[in-house]
């Protein structure tokens, strides 16, 4: 069985945000990119299943420009066998559904039986692409897993449910699982891994090569658009409660009760 891993590059989590002139997106010229942290769990889980003999090949899938290749190479250095990068001018301005369309087409074309994605991209923080891919592939899905096992064509997973409860779920492959923190501890690339990755293949695919209608992706097909991007409202200046600890604490309780009315 082949395992597909959705791997996206995102601005490093400590990036300072600068917003573009039409307030629709951030400026990315001097931003440092990383593998989306949740996609690291996704890749790790795939690599572990391959090591356990449950998969023949681990392939990463990325929608992104040539500048994403450094992150894709990192994935190959960690142990992925090869990579598919989907890149096409027609994709500019795609919403989540547009991205899911091409990812689903690419995953299907490779015949993967199991897909791991991240819980959410830490740029848009949407958490929508994996379930959309599952629907478009006709696969089942399981969201935000922190434990995953596969046996033959069946899987068992654990995930957070409402009210702080956790659920154990089972289902059949093919499945798209979105991975949460706690699933595993991602490995780093080793030097031999980095050397080996140099000869691994990154296949670049266009929308037409995937058999996707260019009119169903990109800005023209986007059902969701972002406007009016701005900084969060300033928090009013806070107050440091001075004096000895005992008086600061009783002042705090008074403020929480009488001023803020939160207790």
């Amino acid at each position: 069985m082949k395992i597909g891993v959705c791997l996206k590059q995102v601005p490093a989590t400590d990036t300072r945000i600068r917003i573009n002139a039409d307030a629709t997106a951030i400026l990315t010229d001097d931003v440092k990119f990383e593998i989306n942290p949740y996609d690291e769990y996704a890749l790790e889980e795939a690599l572990r299943l391959k090591q356990a003999g449950k998969a023949t090949e681990v392939i990463t899938f990325t929608v992104g420009g040539a500048d994403a290749e450094a992150r894709i190479r990192d994935g190959l250095a960690r142990g992925a066998d090869r990579a598919v990068r989907i890149d096409d001018p027609a994709l500019a301005g795609s919403d989540g559904l547009g991205l899911a369309r091409v990812l689903a087409a690419a995953l299907k074309a490779e015949g993967v039986g199991l897909v791991f994605a991240g819980r959410q991209s830490v740029d848009g923080d949407s958490s929508t692409v994996p379930a959309m891919i599952a629907e478009l592939m006709g696969a089942s899905q399981v969201s935000w897993v922190d434990k995953f096992e596969v046996e033959g064509d069946a899987f068992t997973a654990q995930r957070a449910a409402g009210g702080g409860m956790r659920e154990v779920v089972t289902g059949k492959l093919p499945v798209v699982a979105s991975c949460d923190k706690g699933l595993n501890t991602p490995r780093y690339a080793t030097l031999p891994g980095i050397l080996k990755a140099k000869s691994k293949k990154i296949g670049v695919m266009s929308v037409a090569e995937l058999g996707v209608d260019a009119g169903s992706v990109g800005a023209g097909a986007a059902l969701v658009t972002f406007t009016n991007m701005g900084p969060p409202p300033e928090r009013p200046a806070g107050r440091i409660l001075s004096g000895d600890t005992a008086s600061a604490v009783s002042e705090l309780v008074r403020l929480l009760r009488d001023e803020a009315k939160v207790i």
Binding site: T13, D14, I26, Y38, L97, V122, D123, G124, D125, S126, S127, T128, P130, A131, M132, E135, S140, Q141, V142, S143, W144, T156, A160, A161, G162, G163, G164, M165, R166, E167, V168, V169, T170, G171, K181, A222, L223, V224, T225, F226, T227, N228, M229, G230, P231, P232, R235, G238, R239, I240, L241, T245, A248, V249, S250, L252, L256, A260, V262, I263
Partner: protein
């Protein structure tokens, strides 16, 4: 599509969750169209009318007794079709996060998730939500005939029920066991009886400075219990094993939105702030007066948490 707004109402222990009332009341306040409720399962939906729903669309079937993506997605689709509503809103719960993107892909409907604001822009509903872990906010505009939004819990206050009643429309979605694609075979109890972090009204979090699981349990949890709060933690505390993975607050943990957030010995790294910066009141206790968390705190105490937390607990007990 009509201008009707369909509000997905979740139940717990036979009663609507607080998030359901928050959504209904907000939907009514939008004034963008009649508000109806969607109930999946066989809960008693009579309380929803009093909170502003004029109609309840109820989809029930034995196969909906516990959550599954397949059966629920079908239920959502059937209710949207039966009501003809142009807008579906739901709380950003685990059900909504799982089922609604799948529904959106099935229907070709635009989906705006994790909103902290919903407003009426000339009859059209527009969301506003944090992106980049709350470092920016953005308007979410939906172009499709059916628009779906999710709203983060505690985005709007819940007022007293305005009163009223709703008629119940039973929707037959033809759901059978065959629609249960991924089956729940077990439920694991939460680590504590406290409210889920993402819905909690009050949170007390501890950081690396707690130094051990024993001290975390002896200092953070009792203070949380005294406040009727849920315990949370920084990633440093979680990685060190002082608290559970599910208790991490931040960019790669839970995003919380309580009215009170108390940070004990947490420096206020940008990834931690990402998870809690929208809290209404933030209290920071840190021995370093330069700790970045103080720039976000409503009230701060510069001091040793091992001294402050027990004192605070005692002061609360005094009433």
């Amino acid at each position: 599509m009509s201008n009707e707004i369909l509000v997905f109402c979740e139940f717990e222990g036979g009663a609507p969750r607080k998030t359901a009332l928050e959504l209904l009341q907000r939907a009514v306040a939008l004034g963008a169209g009649p508000v109806s409720a969607l109930v999946i399962g066989n809960a008693d939906s009579s309380a929803l009318g009093a909170n502003g729903a004029h109609k309840v669309y109820q989809v029930s079937a034995p196969a909906l007794a516990s959550y599954s993506t397949g059966a629920y997605t079908k239920a959502f689709a059937a209710a949207l079709a039966a009501s003809g509503a142009g807008t579906l809103i739901a709380s950003a719960s685990s059900i909504a996060r799982d089922a609604l993107p799948r529904l959106a892909a099935r229907l070709g409907a635009g989906l705006g998730v994790e909103c902290t604001e919903l407003r009426n822009a000339g009859g059209r509903i527009v969301g506003r939500r944090p992106v980049y872990a709350g470092k920016a906010l953005v308007d979410v505009n939906i172009q499709s005939p059916v628009a779906i939004f999710t709203l983060r819990p505690n985005s709007y206050p819940v007022g007293p029920a305005p009163g009223g009643s709703a008629s119940v429309v039973l929707v037959d979605a033809g759901i059978t066991e065959a629609d249960v694609d991924v089956k729940v075979v077990g439920t694991l109890a939460p680590d504590s009886t406290a409210v889920d972090l993402t819905e909690a009204e009050r949170i007390v979090s501890g950081g690396r400075s707690l130094k051990s699981k024993e001290q975390f349990d002896a200092v953070v949890r009792p203070l949380a219990a005294a406040l009727g709060a849920t315990a949370g933690a920084s990633r440093a505390a979680v990685d060190a094993g002082y608290a559970g993975h599910g208790e991490q607050v931040g960019q790669t943990g839970k995003v919380v939105n309580p009215s009170l957030y108390i940070a004990l010995g947490i420096s206020g790294a940008i990834q931690h702030l990402a998870g809690m910066r929208t809290s209404r009141v933030i209290v920071a206790v840190n021995k370093d007066p330069e700790a970045p968390i103080f720039q976000f705190a409503t009230y701060g105490i510069v001091g040793d948490l091992f001294e402050v937390a027990p004192m605070l607990q005692a002061e609360l007990a005094r009433g």
